[in-house]
């Protein structure tokens, strides 16, 4: 009985670790993407304005 309980605990721990592993990367990627987009957005706007500057 104790043996079965130990196996069950091990399985639950493994499942939790796997869930964390799978979740960790997308969250990390999404956070970085949001932060980068916020920082880089103004550069995009200035790049779009450039052709108009060149024409003048």
């Amino acid at each position: 009985m104790q043996h079965l309980q130990a196996e069950k605990n091990l399985l639950l721990t493994t499942a939790r670790l796997l869930r964390e592993l799978l979740r960790e990367k997308p969250i990390q990627y999404e956070e970085e993407l949001t932060a980068l987009n916020a920082v880089l957005e103004p550069f995009n706007s200035s790049a779009e304005e450039q052709p108009a500057d060149e024409q003048s």
């Binding site: 997308p26 970085e32 980068l36 550069f43």
Partner: protein, 177 residues
């Protein structure tokens, strides 16, 4: 592909590669970068991976450093580009020895890094098979070995790369015999 990070990666890579051209066609080097990033986009890779696709050759072929990439594009993109950058030096020995070093490095890549390398491999194989059939025999053999350490990459890109290399090798064999 209109996310700011992708657009900026494209601009940065275009400036960094400057006037570089593709070896066989003389086309702008950015054609290859567009093809690699485009493939990643089509296979629904994350925007950071697509951005790294545009930048995948800057550490190998330009003066840009990993530190600079980190400063502009953050640690994830810098890490992805580093994962797909050859680590061998000419002083490491013959071509086979250098390829082993680079293959061992790629074996440790993330799934996203493997995705970039697979797209790069598809683009380069296409070019070499079309323009240099003699070198293609050696190149495709090396890439077949490389595929063995990229099995952790996305299934769709892996299958496409495998199909292309197998087709290229059978064409090479039939043209040699």
């Amino acid at each position: 592909m209109t996310t700011p990070v992708i657009l900026q990666a494209r601009r940065f890579a275009t400036q960094a590669h400057g006037e570089q051209k593709r070896k066989y066609t003389g086309a702008p080097y950015t054609d290859h970068l567009e093809e690699v990033a485009g493939m990643l986009f089509e296979h629904d890779e994350h925007p950071l991976t697509v951005a790294a696709g545009f930048l995948h050759d800057v550490l190998e072929d330009t003066d840009v450093t990993k530190k600079q990439l980190e400063e502009v594009f953050g640690p994830i993109i810098a890490q992805l580009v580093w994962e797909v950058t050859d680590q061998s030096k000419l002083s490491d020995g013959n071509r086979a020895a250098r390829k082993t070093i680079d293959r061992d490095h790629l074996a440790k890549s993330s799934k996203e890094g493997a995705a970039i390398k697979l797209a790069d491999l598809i683009s380069n194989s296409r070019d070499i098979v079309a323009h240099d059939p003699n070198f293609a025999v050696v190149y495709l053999r090396e890439k077949d070995e490389l595929l063995k350490v990229l099995k952790h990459g996305p299934l769709g890109l892996y299958a496409k790369a495998k199909e292309q290399i197998t087709a290229g090798r059978s064409t090479g064999r039939s043209s040699v015999s």
